[in-house]
Chain length 345, copies 2
């Protein structure tokens, strides 16, 4: 089977010759060729210069036998295209200069079409598709409504999401209005990427694990469902909600052909909770790539054994690759997954 | 029923007239009388000056009809008493000046008896017991082995626990040696508090949720089990492991008469997973105290309804109270829980 087919077939729960693998944040700081480019450019320059974004997207694909590429970008850029003032600091990560507090703050966010405000992203997708030339598929991505909304309210990352929850609990109408708006933005950004060549699409709900089930049902489910049901159905969709084991069923119901699983949830347990009508993606602890070769082998075998009966397993980490990860361990991982999962078709 | 009996009876799963309540970090920055003392003293001075620690312990008890007090201290102080260099910064929280890297680093930590190195804590317990005069019981606490070990390896808090996991995965013997040592320290600190008057004892495993089940089984379970089985059995024990829903059964098996539940896990789901032979503590989202009165009422009723069949429910937050929490909402919460859960004996 050509590498080109493995990932998309697994997304559709069709038979594959071995388990496909790609890694969240596979383009990143752990690669010296990434750091070499980063030295001369800010993070945001790299994202918004099509040639640089394309180059960085391709770096891990040249090094490792990965079964998919993922476009290099950031989940907050569609907000910038909608008029939100955004900076990326080296130490603190992204900062929203004027966090959302009022109806006016919500309403002034334009529901920008990526063809207007994010041509750099669409052009990067075209460049990468041309370079890949059908060898492996390219994944597009966006942030889920809650994760986008929480950034907008907190002004950046948070440990406790107190401001976001305070808005939910004291100004529910305002929070719903904000969710409506960011859902529109996410849908436009997603379908723009798919129109311009993304062959699969992943939604990252990185911070939603902070919510209880009842809050998810009330404040998140309607919007994440709308996002998934509005996605161009010509490509498979992946739904990754971090630390959401307590509401796996709600995450599944809100959408996604493939459900991403973090490293805390055993894959067989997740599979039983999800049922056979979804493919599953995961779930090695990113820190395992810092382990000894023995430890890494043991963990990979454990995950492949847990996924033995799963139709449609895509190997991945349970969260993004960590800075400082030894690239040689990534090479070992990719080869190990392919070799250990090889099966006659 | 006297307030004095409610909490301890619930810990033993005996009948109570209404659900007892206390709040993790109930003594803290959200109280102006706390901030008034903090203005003149560092955090560590407040912990290590018996009169100040006792005073701060009693502040929330004077304000609210809480069913238990918890001694004001910090989980890292037993490490300091064992010879670890420790500072508390206002911005970053605790810092270990020389993180643990080698066998020598582990071996030079003394298994200090609190009667030698932590008399300030034992004296504070005596002072509080005298002041409380039997009105409500006093809880002692310590950090669980993994949480202590991860602080020692990371040098402070962490998002990813990469250094800790790297040690687990590449130098397992060293990590096990460290866990042995911090378990000894935790046991000594716990039993010292119980000997000197703590009437219940809570173990905080705040960071263990970052681990997969298999890592917990191999690297944590033996030590947390030893801690619980070594605790003075004359008082009930509480085991609080944050974000550990994926291994509730392992947490239970490792010990605790009462299992603390974070706010993400619905209480009835946790109760079914735990079985009827444990009491249960939790689990309001700390952020709910920033909500409207309506929202707070709804959440409290949802939790009490989920706990309807539970024998031995102690109401608490699902994590520590947040700075900035309006004290008037704490008063509303405490009264609401007592009133809504009142039942004929």
């Amino acid at each position: 089977m050509a590498r080109s087919d493995r990932f998309l077939k697994a997304c559709r729960r069709e038979a594959v010759d071995c388990t496909p693998i790609w890694l969240m944040r596979q383009a990143g700081r752990y690669l010296e060729e990434y750091r070499a480019i980063r030295k001369g450019h800010s993070f945001i320059e790299m994202c918004t210069t099509s040639e640089l974004a394309a180059e960085v997207t391709l770096q891990p694909v040249r090094r490792f036998d990965l079964d998919a590429a993922i476009i290099f970008s950031d989940i907050l850029l569609p907000l910038q295209a909608s008029g939100v003032d955004l900076t990326f600091t080296d130490s603190e990560g992204p900062r929203i200069l004027k966090p959302v507090r009022t109806v006016e703050d919500v309403d002034k966010m334009r529901p920008a079409e990526p063809e207007q405000g994010m041509t750099y992203l669409l052009d990067a997708i075209s460049l990468v598709r041309r370079e890949l030339d059908g060898s492996i598929p390219l994944i597009g991505f966006c942030g889920a409504p809650f994760t986008l909304a929480s950034y907008l309210v907190e002004g950046g990352g948070s440990k406790t999401y107190t401001l976001t929850k305070q808005m939910m609990y004291t100004q529910p109408d305002l929070f719903h209005r904000l969710m409506e708006r960011v859902t529109d933005i996410a849908i436009a950004c997603a379908n723009g990427q798919i129109r311009h060549g993304a062959q699969a699409f992943q939604v990252f709900d990185s911070w939603v694990g902070t919510l209880s089930r009842s809050d998810y049902e009330e404040f998140v489910f309607p919007y994440t469902s709308r996002l998934f049901s509005s996605l161009d159905r010509s490509v498979p969709s992946i739904h990754f909600a971090l630390h959401a084991f307590h509401m796996t069923d709600l995450v599944k119901r809100s959408g996604g052909d493939v459900i991403g699983i973090d490293w805390q949830t055993p894959l067989d347990v997740a599979w039983h909770a999800l049922g056979p009508d979804r493919a599953i993606q995961g779930n090695l602890d990113p820190a395992a790539l810092f382990g000894s070769s023995d430890y890494l082998h043991k963990q990979v075998r454990t995950i492949l054994a847990a996924a033995r009966d799963v139709k449609g397993h895509i190997f991945n980490l349970g969260h993004g690759i960590l800075p400082g990860t030894p690239p040689e361990n990534v090479a070992i991982l990719v080869d190990l997954v392919h070799r250990e999962s090889a099966r006659p078709l």
